[in-house]
């Protein structure tokens, strides 16, 4: 990852006027993505701040995706997977949980507040949960303000693993 430095001066971050959190969500194809579809067919209304990226399993979410999202300007990252015991691939979500637990600690050391990174088990029928989680997260992140990781825009963020390892 590039050098991620905060622009904050240590004090409380006042959210700028009109700040709209940008949240990247990784939803598994078999549960949470379907739940989000159901929220749509049920015409539930929720905050438009989430951009969903579909993966076949929440276990496909490489920690680098989360870091990349934050580095690229996401104010929050949400992962949605099937409930424990319900994974379409038997146990992918347990692996997600392990990675999530570790990654939260890594993010904390980088100064990224825990509310900005969330893992939720949302089954295909739980459209209401999608609505509630998204709204809640948007509000929490809105209260925190922008992430303000300083990423030099003119220099492309290295994405190759070799470069990351270097």
């Amino acid at each position: 990852m590039p050098e991620a430095t905060h622009t904050t001066e240590g004090g409380a971050r006042a959210a700028p006027e009109g700040f709209e959190p940008r949240i990247v969500a990784f939803f598994c194809n078999w549960c949470t993505y379907i739940a989000a579809d159901l929220a749509g067919t049920s015409r539930m209304k929720y905050a438009p701040n989430v951009r969903v990226i579909r993966t076949m399993c929440s276990g496909r979410v490489d920690p680098q995706f989360v870091l990349e999202a934050f580095a690229r300007g996401a104010d929050g990252v949400l992962i949605g997977g099937c409930h424990p015991g319900d994974c379409h691939y038997q146990e992918g979500n347990y692996k997600t949980l392990r990675r999530y637990t570790l990654l939260r600690q890594v993010l904390a050391t980088l100064g990224i507040e825990p509310q900005r990174f969330r893992l939720e088990w949302i089954s295909a029928s739980e459209a209401e949960r999608v609505r509630a989680v998204v709204n809640e997260m948007v509000e929490q992140v809105r209260a925190l303000g922008p992430l303000r990781l300083e990423v030099p825009q003119e220099v492309p963020v290295p994405r190759q693993r070799e470069e990351v390892a270097a």
């Binding site: 709209e20 940008r22 990247v24 194809n29 078999w30 549960c31 993505y33 379907i34 989000a36 579809d37 929220a39 749509g40 067919t41 015409r43 539930m44 209304k45 929720y46 438009p48 951009r51 969903v52 990226i53 579909r54 993966t55 076949m56 399993c57 276990g59 496909r60 979410v61 490489d62 920690p63 680098q64 995706f65 990349e68 999202a69 690229r72 300007g73 996401a74 015991g85 319900d86 379409h88 691939y89 038997q90 146990e91 992918g92 692996k95 990675r99 089954s123 295909a124 029928s125 739980e126 459209a127 209401e128 609505r131 994405r159 693993r161 070799e162």
Partner: protein
């Protein structure tokens, strides 16, 4: 990208198609602006918006543009890919593109339907389209893997839906395994007396079908059996079935029932499940006279031999030389291979004890509708006499609708059949007892063929209809119960003494529906019914290919609907297996050998044992037949040497950047 860089800036030539979906999308999202915006995205050579992209002319736009604009990639911004990905991949393929060079953007379910702010929704759609355009540039052509399909089908559940599905498939020449948990097939329908609205005798239309199942050379009928394990994938499922011991050899028993006569119990002591406890049965019993198969079963819990080992075994004696009774019988596990599975596991009735003020289980005069079905049934515990538990014939009967249905405290949904069976029971009770019958209803819902006519007929017969939700039920004099209700048409509270109360209980998912759902890897709706792939367009399919739904396990249904759906499920299964082969999605993972360090991190992560370590090369290898494409190993590989088709790291990074990088 090695392939297809014919566009500006050395990028593939991309076409973007934005669907209005009538006003479903266009009402909330500025589709024209999106179309204009899309042309500014790198690689995009044409962008269009159209009223219905999924329609024939909509698809034709794509087909023509592929040729005219020499498109190499296609992005369609419309509904969920789970709905129409197949459609647009097909259109691209007709235009000569590889179907996997298409990316869908979900701007309906995930955008226009869930947001109200037009500006925000349009901005979101723009972000998603930008992500897709960046991602699709990396798409490589992929081939679907073709696997042959096992032509056999498993039907789980032997009620009317399972029976009909099994017979339809068997008649089409397919081999069917019909697995039923109870000792007999027939399900709830076998318990009914007459069916609404025609008052057909349920047994007369059901039992011949039950017999046909047993007699059909293409059906393997396993009653008293349960599916315990399901593995494999569409076309090639491996299923383990546990066959519970009935302590009677099915091949030897002829159903003469002499053993039942001879049992040391002179009278039955165990509540008879089939009669809902309104009668008693012996430890060795036939569930009901027309049971299929005609084989008795021994209830281990009630049989003296199992409890003490000191029974005189008069049943064995009565069976004589036939020797069908076998106390040493053990549970057996059978493994079968099938190409498709139809779930027809049915429903349970609402437990009326959950509404205490209706007094079910407290007042002996209160019955559930299913119990009354048994009472009016000529083969039931009273021989078809409608009499109370004390033997008296009721002179006035209350039928309370919507018990456990359309109620915030229990189930909010309408159970769909209770109105009609209440009308039917009103007719049958009146016919058999000449009692005054009062129906207490919220609404009468009679939307089926000849249903309204039946409602009118029951009204003309003199049944009373009182619109109001019963608030209380309490003992009056003479062993009667008083029904207290606010008659909402008269606008006053009424108290009506009755001899008998019938609770029109609703339908609920089976208590183990969640376990069954996990077993078959399907989803449930909020209420717990099995979830169909699409409520309109794929009502019998599930999200798991090759697994279909029939009957009330999908939601409350009457008999004609269950049968119709069972036929549809059988037809879907037939269409699948008659194709002979099925194409599997190519989202499998693969190892880029030169990058693999041989660390073996991936190997224990794979739940399908698809990854092996090749000793000679010291590299991991993925068996693409076993790989199901979850991508767990891809995310875990420390050297980045495992990739997943269509979900490469690069593609997802492009999406991340795409949704975040405002133009």
């Amino acid at each position: 990208m090695a392939e297809g860089v014919g566009g500006p800036n050395g990028r593939p030539r991309i076409g973007v198609y934005i669907c209005h979906c009538g006003t479903n999308i266009a009402g909330t999202v500025d589709v024209q602006a999106l179309s204009a915006y899309s042309t500014t995205l790198p690689g995009v050579v044409v962008a269009r918006d159209y009223r219905y992209m999924c329609s024939d002319p909509g698809q034709e736009l794509i087909v023509k543009d592929i040729a005219e604009h020499r498109l190499q990639r296609v992005v369609v911004a419309s509904c969920s890919p789970l709905l129409h990905e197949h459609t647009f991949r097909g259109a691209a393929a007709r235009g000569g593109l590889n179907p996997f060079q298409v990316q869908m953007v979900n701007i309906r379910e995930h955008d226009s339907w869930v947001h109200e702010d037009r500006e925000a929704a349009t901005a979101k759609a723009g972000d998603l389209i930008r992500a897709a355009v960046r991602r699709v540039a990396l798409h490589r052509p992929l081939e679907r893997r073709r696997v042959t399909i096992n032509p056999d089908v498993l039907v789980v559940g032997g009620g009317i839906a399972g029976i009909h599905a099994a017979l339809t498939l068997a008649n089409a020449g397919k081999h069917v395994y019909l697995v039923e948990r109870e000792p007999t097939i027939g399900g709830h329908m076998a318990m009914f007396d007459k069916t609404f609205p025609t008052l057909d005798c349920a047994a007369c239309i059901l039992t011949p079908k039950m017999t046909a199942v047993k007699a059909h050379p293409n059906i393997t009928l396993w009653t008293y059996s349960e599916v315990t394990q399901v593995g494999g994938y569409v076309g090639n499922y491996q299923v383990t079935v546990r066959r519970k011991p009935r302590y009677v050899n099915e091949d030897l028993c002829v159903g003469c029932r002499e053993c039942i006569e001879a049992c040391v119990y002179k009278e039955g002591k165990t509540p008879d499940e089939f009669n809902l406890g309104l009668s008693r049965r012996k430890p060795i019993y036939m569930p009901f006279p027309q049971a299929v198969p005609q084989v008795v079963v021994i209830d281990r819990e009630a049989c003296i031999e199992f409890k003490s080992g000191k029974c005189k075994k008069t049943c064995v004696e009565a069976c004589g030389e036939r020797g069908a009774i076998d106390f040493s019988q053990q549970e057996r596990l059978e493994t079968i291979r099938v190409g498709a599975i139809i779930l027809a596991t049915g429903f349970k009735i609402f437990d009326a004890r959950r509404i205490p003020y209706y007094g079910y289980g407290t007042y002996p005069q209160v019955y559930t509708a299913l119990e009354v079905e048994r009472l009016v049934n000529a083969a039931g515990p009273t021989g078809g006499e409608v009499v109370l538990r004390n033997g008296r014939r009721p002179e006035s009967v209350a039928i309370i609708h919507c018990v456990g249905s359309r109620d915030e405290n229990t189930n909010r949904y309408c159970s769909r059949v209770c109105c009609m069976y209440s009308l039917k029971l009103a007719h049958l009770i009146k016919e058999k007892t000449q009692a005054e019958v009062y129906n207490f209803y919220i609404d009468i819902r009679a939307p089926g063929k000849s249903f309204e006519e039946f409602y009118n007929r029951v009204q003309e017969e003199g049944t009373h209809f009182i619109r109001g939700k019963v608030a209380d039920l309490y003992p009056g004099g003479d062993g009667r119960l008083v029904v207290q209700v606010e008659d909402t048409l008269l606008g006053k509270v009424r108290k009506i003494p009755v001899d008998m109360v019938v609770l029109s209980v609703g339908l609920e998912p089976r208590p183990d529906a969640q376990e069954v759902r996990r077993l078959f890897n399907i989803s449930c709706s909020t209420e717990g019914w099995f979830l169909e792939r699409h409520p309109k367009l794929a009502p019998v399919s599930t999200f798991t290919d090759g697994i279909f739904l029939a009957g009330a396990c999908q939601g409350p249904k009457d008999i004609p609907d269950s049968v119709a759906q069972a036929g549809a499920a059988a037809a879907e299964a037939l269409a699948l297996i008659d194709a002979g082969a099925v194409e599997l999605e190519p989202y499998t993972a693969y190892v880029v050998e030169e990058d693999c360090s041989g660390c073996k991190t991936c190997i224990p992560l794979c739940p399908y044992n698809a990854i092996s370590f090749v000793a000679e090369t010291k590299k991991a290898q993925i068996n693409e037949v076993l790989c199901k494409g979850c991508g767990v190993c891809v995310a875990a590989c420390p050297s980045g040497s495992i990739k997943q088709n269509l979900f490469e790291d690069e593609a997802i990074f492009e999406e991340i950047e795409g949704v975040l990088t405002h133009a």
